[in-house]
Symmetry: C2
Subunit: 107 residues, 2 copies
Amino acid sequence: MRRVVQVIRVLPEKADAYRELHRNVPLPVLDRLRDCHIANYSIHLLGDRLFAYFEYHGDDLAADLAAMADDPATREWWQRTAPCQRPVEEAAPGTWWADMEQVFLME
Amino acid sequence: MRRVVQVIRVLPEKADAYRELHRNVPLPVLDRLRDCHIANYSIHLLGDRLFAYFEYHGDDLAADLAAMADDPATREWWQRTAPCQRPVEEAAPGTWWADMEQVFLME
């Protein structure tokens, strides 16, 4: 299992909309996440930062992320969430959610 | 089980020292964490932000956090890590690591 932790900004005026959207994530989006070997997925907010934590149980994360991006329900979902978000300034060019570096683990 | 997610700043000039400290956390510190019903604890870094995620399996988090603060090995450890850190600006007065709000969970 591999932990994936990512960060992104939320536009302050869109934080409430982002919360509201996530109270009722479409089931096909959740199904696709599970099909892509993702579990124990949570998103956390403070100020203008969103942190996402999930556990990846597959053996090809890039392929599974591509499969998510290829899913119509997921793409529609991202069209609703993306207007709330902006990459953090540390994000590599072209990335949306920015990967963080794991510096400590106690299992 | 309750997920606890917190954020703090790392001083840029201390990020390497923070990484290095966490490559070799003293065993009594890890033992105390486990005794305090904490598991699956990881810390992640990007830019000047540290993001901590852990899972709490006890039934009195405040008491367990107090027990950690009462442990000599943990206090000594915090004396080494605290100079690397500063609270984020959104932190409530007097808090160190700032609690984040969970806005999404898929178990």
